[in-house]
Amino acid sequence: MNTDDINLAYKIRHALNDTLDELPASTTERLAAARAQALARKKADAKVAPQQTTQHKPTQRRPSFALSGFAAVFSTPWAARAVAVVPLVAMVAGLVGVYQHQQEQRVAELAELDAAVLSDDLPLTAYTDHGFNAYLVQQQQNLQQPQRAQ
């Protein structure tokens, strides 16, 4: 960047700084409150840590944060996260179980069918023979006719 660009950047910075003085009181108050809240939750060194955590616990809730309930789940320790993950793991395990069971059933059905075909008296080629099919139909009709006559 040349000097003109840098000058412009610093002039813009100056203009932006002017806007900071004109922030409404409600905004500056809210920022100050947020700062106080942050300081109350400051990560302390080992010596004062227990005292601070107990002292500031009641004021630790963040007001008006859009998804505080949802966010709280993910800002808690790993144990709380694990609780949230358990239903997901159970669902995935269930789906895998159902898939396995269905696969086994399908294989068993196919095996049963194959066994029935292979152990039949008729050879497999008989089912593709049109003449044999016609013979079977005729046989069936012959069987039905005497039954009607009676």
Binding site: Y10, T19, L20, L31, A34, R35, L39, R41
Partner: protein
């Protein structure tokens, strides 16, 4: 390790700029305040024991991540709203909200300037902010960190998670874009 006073001084010095920075990105004051509050708390909770010199870079990194999280949540929320869009109207729909309305309300307080000067100055500031909002996100981040937050190239690169060369490129493009836009609007700084 930063003392309570150092952390307080740092946050006090940076909070207004952080608020504006978030407001340029999300364009909603309330959301920007929530983001800054969240970033401050995260900094204090997780990095309160870091040296004071590291705080600016850490805070910027947290602020950018929190802004990104906001957009992610908005995306999810908008998906649900569009799915159930026919069931009711949004009451908090403030598309027409102008971030600078609040500044205009404060105008009468400056007695040193004439009314014409005040209006002209406010208008110039409004146009500058408008052009900054229009910048691509990464360019705006780099520009504001480098020239408004007083961070050097290395700190900016670390906060943005990119190379120093990228920071220089983003800054240069942002400055050129701003210069061109302001010139087109007849603003001379």
């Amino acid at each position: 390790m930063a003392t309570d006073k150092e952390l307080n001084d740092f946050l006090e010095g940076v909070e207004r700029r952080a608020f504006k920075q978030a407001a340029y990105a999300v364009r909603k004051d309330e959301a920007a305040l929530d983001i800054v509050q969240d970033a401050m708390i995260k900094l204090a909770e997780k990095y309160g024991d870091k040296p004071a010199a590291e705080l600016p870079m850490l805070f910027q990194r947290i602020l950018q991540t929190t802004i990104l999280d906001y957009f992610r949540r908005e995306k999810v929320r908008n998906t649900w709203i569009s799915l159930f869009g026919g069931l009711g109207r949004r009451e908090d729909d403030d598309e027409d909200f102008d971030i600078l309305e609040s500044y205009e309300a404060e105008e009468g307080t400056t007695v040193a300037e004439s009314s014409a000067d005040q209006v002209e100055r406010a208008e110039t500031l409004r146009l500058i902010e408008e052009e900054i909002q229009k910048l691509p996100t990464r360019q705006r981040e780099a520009f504001l960190m480098r020239y408004w937050q007083d961070m050097d190239v290395a700190e900016t690169a670390e906060a943005m998670g990119c190379s120093e060369g990228s920071v220089k490129t983003h800054c240069s493009r942002a400055t050129h874009a701003l210069a061109k836009a302001l010139e087109a609007k007849g603003i001379k700084l």
